[in-house]
Each structure stands twice: as C-alpha cells, then as structure tokens.
Amino acid sequence: MTEYIRPKWADWADKIRSLDDPVLAHEKPEALDDLVVLDMSSRSMAGCYCSSMLAELGAETIRIEPPGGDLVRTYSPNGMMHQGTGLAYLAEGRNKYHVTLDLATEEGRDIFKSLIAQADVLIETYPKGQMDEWGIGYDELSKINPRLIFTSISAFGRFGPESDRRQYDYDNVSQARSGIQYATGEVLPEGKTVEEMPWAVPTKAGPWITWAVSGTFAAVGILGALHYRELTGEGQAIDVATPEAYERLNDYVLHWYADQGHVCERFGNLDTCLWLYGFFPTKDGGVFLGGLRLEMWKAFVDILGKYDEWGAAEWTTLAPFMKKDWQLKYQTMINPLTLQYTSEELTQKAIEYAKSGRLAPITPVVAEIVPPGKTMQDAIWVERGIFTPVQDPVYGDVVVAQSQWKATETPPRTKWVCRPVGYDNGYVYLKYLGYGPVKLGELNGKGVI
C-alpha cells in the first residue's frame, strides 16, 4: 500500500467538513421545529418514512396508533423482535412521539379533532373512504383547521377509476404495479422455463423502495404546500399513489412504448441505455463498471490491456456500443478478463490509472458490489456519520442509517429510534388536551387509548 497523499484541494474538504460534519448536527437549529405533524399511517411504511423525514428535520411528530399498536411493528426478518418491536419499525419510528387512539369510538375522534386543530400536517395511508367513514375526512378536518396539510399516501390514490379499491398499500405490490419490476431481473435463456430457473424472473428491489419514494415525494409535496401556505394561509389536500411515485422514476420506458410500441424487457446486469455500464464478475464477486464517455471506456479497455488488440485508438463514438448486440458481444469479451482480478484489485487499478494511465486523469468508475454487512464496516460511511449508533433511552444503542445528507445550518438528525406503544400518551395528551393521569386512566379504562 502506497502512502496516502491528500490532494491539493484538501483545505476545501477540511473547510466544508468543519461546517457540516454530522457530529456537529446537535449544535445546530432545526428547519421544521415550528411544525406539528400527525402520522396515522396504517400497515404502510410510506407514511412512517414520510413523517421520519419531517421528524429528522425537527418537526414535532406524533404517531397515532390504534390501541395495541399498528401492524408495522411486526414487520421484521424471520419475525425477530427487539424488545417487542420489529426491526423495520425500530428504524422508522425515529424521533416520533407515540400515542394510541381508537378512532372507531366517538370519544377517540373527538380527541383526534383537538389534535388536528393544533397540527400543521396530517399523514394517513388508509384505503380511500376510511377517513370519511370516521367523519374525519378532508372536508371535516379542513373546517376545523383550514391551514391543515392533509396528506394521503395509498395504493390507488384518492380519485380515478381504481381508487375505490379498498386494499391497503404494500411495497411489493406497488413495485409490481409500477412497471419497474417487469423490466428488472435476469434474462431467461431461450428454451429454459421459470420452473428450471426460478430466479430468471421480473425481480423487485429488496428494500421498500416504493414506500421510501412515495413517502419522500409526499414530504416534498408537504414542503411545497407549506411554502404556499405561508403566502396565502391556506392548507390543502395532497394525494400520492405509491406505484405512481415510483413509476415517475422510471425513465424513457413510457415514451418508448408510446412512440415505438416497444415494451422494455429485462436486460440483466447491463443497461438498455448506457455503455460502459453494468455489473461484471470478478475473482471474488463482482464490480460495477461505468464509463459513459468514450474516453472512460477506452481507459477501461487500457486497464484490461486490450487497448491495441481491440483497436480502441480508432474509436470515435460510443454510439454503436450502446446497441443491444454490441453490448452482449463486449460483455462476453469483458467477463473472462475481469474474472482474473479481485474486486479490490480492479478498484485500485482504476485509481492508479487516474494518476499514471495513458488517458489520465480519465479513468472508469469501478465499484465493488458489496453485501450490506461490508457497507456498514466501510470506514468512509462510518466517518461520514451514516452508521453512528443512536443512543435510545428504551432500546439502547441502535444503528439505523442517518445523516443522509450534510448541511451547514439545518442538518437532519436522529435522536431516538422508536417508542413502545402508547409510550407518550401522558406527555402528548397533557400538552395538547390538558389531560392528566385521572382523565387518561378513564380513557384507558374505556379502551379509547
């Protein structure tokens, strides 16, 4: 290992770090600390993810669950529980106050309306019609609080022919409906069946990406609505359909069919649009290789030692390489070559090439495809604050991803990970309704909380 020499512009890096290192986050103000958010998500983590975004920015976020808790608390790999809470909710209960409330009771709805009168944002994920049936739909709540930003995140949205389907929103079903899963996955070789190769099928993303995307779009919508409210004093209703939110991130596929009648199909670990761009095998696993400019692709060929043999000096455009047949041809030429190296060797070769290669400083992108266990140990992410454990008063030290962006003034931060069911009933109902222990005891007895 050669000695690491910092670049000439290291003073810039140090300067920025001194301003936005996440270790300083708790000394800084919070962007949304003037807001009260009510999160009554049910079964869907999209709402919880949305409210996390706001809570990480300082909004006082009150999570309302039915007595006994929401189903999302049971979501966990192999059913594993940490002090009674599933691992998924351990990550997404963060920074929220947790209360229980039975909205099926008149008294519960009355309490809810008191909270609404004092809130800025409501987030809910019920199928359409449920809120109206309880008498707490937008029409009713906007009368109580015209400034309310009433946010619904659901499987089919709040209008349109399919919106009357009373089904809850689940990530895997939304992935299927978005059109993205269809075109992602290994290609089934001709003559083979799915029974023989059950992995060569349309494949969804592992993480709950549709929930994260719809929750984040909703957060952007809420912040936009807040901007408008500051100008006019008016709240409004927001409608996000989870499959649509994710589908918006699908690029040219819609247009391609509209114009050419072309249905985009799976293309394995290559990319329909890009060259050099894909996953390739190595001695100990695999790497991502990227070279979207001709020079970067040439640099990669040079690293492989094929610059002269393949005639790279003569290439003047990337265009033919993007075609399907050339992609497949070059894939079969590259695979045996990358297999001669470990992922780390190839990564280092690219870094070295940037210093001393024929086309330096141009170099291809090389990145090892790692299991998330390795991601969590990578010193770079640890140093940048992603995996700093949260010191939770109830659940102990817990690692959840945080500090997802850095900022000089109002960075996001995670203060606690979760709370047991109804943990904050005492605090929240006292603060917002003036209910002391006697009244709470009564409500508890009646099953309202």
Partner: protein
C-alpha cells in the same frame, strides 16, 4: 376526500403551482444532478439549466438501443422538463461573473460536480454567499465533499452507488450474482431527497434569513431507504442476505407465476387480509393454522416458505387478472405485473393525468409522466420539454440581468455564452420552424 379532488384534472390550470416565485439555477449533468431541479420546476419554480457550451449535458447523447425521439435523447427529455436553457462558459472569469449576478437573484443553486470544482471555478459556496447570503447551495456527487473517497476524486455512477450501498446485493435472488436495477434509483431518489433538504432549508431561511450549504452523496441517500437491514446487522452480527421477490419482513408478500405465465404480486399480512387470501384459495383453515395465525410466527423462515409454497401452487392455477380480482373481492393486496403497455394504456393513470400528453412547441405531442403528487390547491404540472443548448440565453440575460441585445451579442461573440453545436441532441429537431418555443424571437 373524494370531493376535494373532484374535477382535479379539469381545473389544474385554474390554480397556481406551489413553488411560484422561486428561482433555481442548476449546473448539472446526467441524472443525479438534474432530477432534483426538475421536481422543483414541475412544482412551479423557475429553473434555469446552465450547461457548458456547445455540447451541454452528456445525457443528450444517451438512448435505449439507438432510439432517439426527433434526434433527442428520451432520457434527457424525461429528466429535464419545464426548464429554461442557458449555456454559459464557467471556466473563465466573464462567465463566472454572470453566474454570480444570477446567483444574487436566485434562491437555490444546485451542482453535481466532482468535489472542489466549484471552488476552482470561483463559484464555491464562500464566493456565492458573498453575493447572496440567503442562497441555498447544494452539491450532489458520488462521495460528498470530504472523506477518503471524495479526496481520491473517485468517479461514481448510479450503478456504483447501488453496488457500494449493498442495495444491489439485497435486490437479488439468494446464491445468484447481485442484480442491478433497471432504473437509476440512487440518482433519481437522491435527487428527490435533495429537494427535501432544499425545501426545508427554504423554510428555515424564511424564519431566519439564513441560507446554507448542503452536500448529498449518491450512495448515502440510498442507504437511508434500507431500513431494517442496519439494525439487523448490528443486533445479529450477520450480514443481511437477499430473498428474491419474497419480502422478508411481511408475510405473505411475494411475486407468483400464474396460469397464463404472467406474474402477480400478493401481500396479505394483516389478519383480515390473510383470512381473505386463505378464503380465496379455498383453504380458510390455513388462517387458523398455528404456524400461520400470527404474523410474527408466520414470518419465521420455515413457516414463511411453507405458506408461500401453498400460495405459489394455487397461483399457478389462476390467471394474474383472476388473482387481482380475487384480491379486490377478498380484501388483500394483489396486482398483475404491469409493463410499458399498461403504463400507457391503463385508464386509471390517464384519468388521474399521471400519464399525459404534452403539447410541446418544439417536439410536438408526446407522452410523459406528471409529477406524482396531486395537490388540491396547487397542482404541479409538466408543461414543456427540453430545448437546444443555450436556447434561452437571450431571455434569461434580458429578463433577469437586464442585458441589451447588443450586450448579449457581444457575450456570444466572446464565447461567454454559447449556442448548440450542430449535432444530434444539441440542435433543434429537423422539423423545427425556427421560431416556435423561442421566448425572444429576433
């Protein structure tokens, strides 16, 4: 709730956009950079896309298997609607000065350059803050502005972020090579999350007058979406492993091969949903089976695999559409897998105006996705698509900086601002009439 969205589509243009009055500058290329400002433009902000003349954004060259739309990259069109197009040479002092003049009159500025480049171009945060202390300044790139990878100036792409975050690893079948997503998820999602940061910063500025500097990494943003994986690894000391289409935290939740060789996704974890599914399968007794009755027990790997096998066998005897219909009837979530044809033809998407036709002055009518947040008082809307490199130079320079046409001509002559190169994706489409879409026509 139904009432508030009645005639939403019909009345879209009778209402203002949410981000009216905001001005955004972007110096971005490819996807991670331009995606975020696009979302702001769709929400009504005035977004000026600044490219380097005469080639501009690299995305203008990209295409699926050689298909261009009227010579333009369909990717570039999808990711850059509603913007104004300016081409400014930021390598030299005159261009940098103009950029600063624009920054003085902007609210937000976005970059996706390698670390240290903005400083080299004399338009780093420190310099811009001098001319506009309230500016919200965001830089997006592979590894942020500090730390070993940033200092090595490692290049990055969406695929690299998928690889390094463990996202690809978790999106594969067990014992198969890790699988790349067909979409550029870290780019698009990172761009979107960047706007949460930016809009929250805007809210803070309204309260305090203070702007700020934000940095977003292509890999770090996607790690945030990976929820349970991190506490699982911490608490068990093991690396999380993938499970194909099976959701490891929700059961049943998987994709199934159907009688018609199509696929259907099903989810039914709640008691009412699980009972509904068992009933639909003609096996109501399964809902009371001690292995399956409680969700947390059902999630145990051996039980999960057992119930999924039962569902898979049943699914193979029904068409995907039949399963979707049974889902509606029995109250569990189910959908046939949609593809590009469904995206275009499904009436629900059209009725919601989520899939809609744009009537563009330069590119004509084409089909596009609307911004996926429907807002009752302030509907976001896509109105127009991309323009040639430097197409709106005159408009931007005159409207915002008050430059005369003579001054603008001089800037063009000196190469401070520029126009498109005569090549695919940079110049106007061949059938363009020379005027349509131009705001200032000389």
């Amino acid at each position: 709730m139904t009432e508030v969205f009645k005639d939403y589509v019909k009345n879209k243009f009778k209402k203002p956009a949410p981000l009216k009055g905001l001005r955004v500058l972007e110096v971005c290329t490819l996807l991670f950079g331009p995606a975020g400002p696009s979302f702001l433009a769709e929400m009504g902000a005035e977004v000026i896309k600044i490219e380097l003349p005469p080639l501009g954004d690299v995305t203008r060259s990209l295409n699926p298997f050689g298909w261009f739309y009227k010579e333009q990259s369909p990717m570039f069109m999808h990711i850059n609607p509603n913007k104004y197009y300016m081409a400014l040479d930021l390598h030299g002092d005159p261009g940098q000065q103009i950029f600063k003049e624009l920054c003085a009159k902007a609210d937000i500025v976005e970059f996706n350059l390698r670390p240290g480049v903005t400083k080299r171009w004399n338009i780093g945060y420190e310099e811009i803050k001098e001319v506009n202390p309230g500016i919200i300044y965001i830089e997006k790139n592979g590894f942020g502005q500090w730390g070993r990878y940033a200092e090595e100036s490692r290049p990055s792409n969406d695929g690299a972020a998928q690889a390094l975050a463990g996202y690809a690893w978790m999106s594969s079948f067990p014992n198969r090579p890790p699988l790349k997503q067909s979409i550029w998820i870290c780019d698009y999602y990172g761009g979107l999350m960047g706007e949460v940061a930016v809009l929250a910063a805007l809210h803070h500025r309204k309260k305090t007058g203070k702007g700020q500097y934000i940095e977003m990494s292509q890999s770090e943003n996607i790690m945030r979406t990976m929820g349970w994986i991190w506490p699982y690894q911490q608490l068990t000391g093991k690396s999380a492993e993938p499970s194909g289409n099976r959701d490891q935290c929700i059961c049943p939740a998987d994709t199934f091969l159907c009688k018609d060789n199509q696929f259907a996704a099903i989810a039914a974890p709640a008691p009412d949903e699980f009972k509904g599914l068992c009933k639909a399968m003609g096996k109501p007794e399964l809902a009371e089976d001690p292995r399956f009755r409680e969700h947390t027990t059902r999630l145990k790997d051996e039980n999960a695999l057992a119930i999924l096998k039962i569902i898979a066998d049943w699914a193979r005897t029904n068409t995907a559409d039949e399963i979707e219909t049974l889902g509606i009837k029995h109250g569990f979530a189910a959908s046939r897998l949609h593809n590009a044809k469904d995206m275009n033809e499904n009436p629900h998407r059209r009725d919601r105006d989520f899939v809609k036709e744009i009537d563009d002055p330069m590119y004509g009518k084409y089909v596009e996705h609307e911004f996926p947040v429907m807002m009752s008082k302030t509907p976001p809307k896509i109105k127009w698509t991309v323009r040639p490199v430097g197409f709106d130079n005159e408009y931007v320079l005159q409207k915002i900086l008050g430059k005369s046409m003579a001054e603008i001509d001089e800037l063009h002559k000196k190469g401070v601002v520029g126009k498109w190169k005569d090549m695919q994706g940079r110049r106007p489409p061949a059938d363009w009439d020379g005027a349509c879409g131009a705001i200032i026509r000389r």
